[in-house]
């Protein structure tokens, strides 16, 4: 039997190879002149580099935000966190990325509308299955008018 609809809607893990050229491009775009990023044969990833996991997610596949009915014109990026459980991954590593919706909470905005706070987590594991990094994004949907 095929997957239930609920399973089909869960974001699936995907692979993210860490590439030297991509690290160099990202480091240069963020103002780095460090030889550790630009010239090393297997540079470590910069602290916010794992944001580029978006390139490896299945386009049009299940998203952790699906079903929330977000208005994208009212979405702000509130916070972003990366935690590394040891030295950061390096070019040549192949990570597995598992995104998930962590929480959704509501708060009354100052103008009477409802604000939503959405937390999305991404777990990054290495080829041995060890959790090497975790990303956490907080999105804010502002000022939803009362209905």
């Amino acid at each position: 039997m095929s997957a239930t609809p609920a399973d089909a809607n869960q974001p699936r893990p995907f692979q993210m190879p860490i590439e030297r050229g991509k690290v160099r491009e990202f480091a240069r775009a963020t103002g780095s002149k460090s030889a550790d990023y630009l010239d090393a044969p297997n540079p470590p990833v910069p602290p916010t580099f794992l944001r580029t996991a978006a390139f490896w997610a299945t386009e049009g596949g299940p998203s952790p935000l699906q079903g929330l009915d977000l208005n994208l014109r009212r979405i702000l990026h509130g916070e972003q966190e990366y935690e590394f459980f040891g030295p950061p991954p390096r070019a040549g590593d192949v990570l597995t990325v598992q995104p998930r919706l962590e929480s959704v909470s509501e708060k009354e905005g100052k103008r009477g509308g409802t604000m939503r706070f959405i937390s999305v987590v991404e777990d990054f594991t290495d080829e041995s299955g060890r959790l090497v990094a975790q990303g956490r994004s907080t999105l804010i949907e502002t000022g939803k008018a009362p209905e």
Binding site: R28, H77, Y82, F84, P87
Partner: protein, 134 residues
């Protein structure tokens, strides 16, 4: 270089930032929200012009702190986006060592840092926390 509690890190300036910087970051990161490069779209959403990607100034801050404490030493990097950054803004990164401690889980000696990105108007674009192994 050794670091101890209360140390103030030397400030560093990035910019003035340009629309080209925004586009280059969007290409490198994969975030193609048109509000950061499409003038007509930004104005239709009520903004005077395009504004920077929050993660771009977060990236400048990461460059600042990894140059000082070492790319392999990052253990945690958390940014809070506070004020928008506009074309021609000049960004100044600053940081303070809040604590030096031994991490309870790993036994590593680490420094906890408080970091900021400020604009030439005095606004705080980003407030951040980071932990680096020493």
């Amino acid at each position: 270089m050794s670091h101890s509690e209360g140390d103030v890190l030397e400030e560093r300036v990035f910019g003035p930032v340009t629309r080209t910087d925004f586009v280059r970051y969007q290409g490198a990161s994969g975030d193609f929200n048109p509000i950061h490069h499409d003038e007509i779209f930004a104005q239709s959403a009520g903004f005077p012009t395009v504004f920077s990607v929050g993660m771009l100034q977060a990236g400048y801050l990461a460059t600042y702190v990894t140059d000082l404490l070492g790319p392999d030493n990052v253990r945690r990097f958390k940014v809070q986006f506070r004020e928008q950054v506009w074309p021609d803004d000049v960004l100044t990164c600053n940081g303070t060592v809040v604590a030096v401690r031994t991490d309870a889980t790993t036994g590593e000696k680490v420094a906890d840092l408080a970091l900021e990105v400020r604009t030439q108007r005095g606004a705080t674009a980003i407030r951040a926390e980071a932990t680096f192994a020493l």
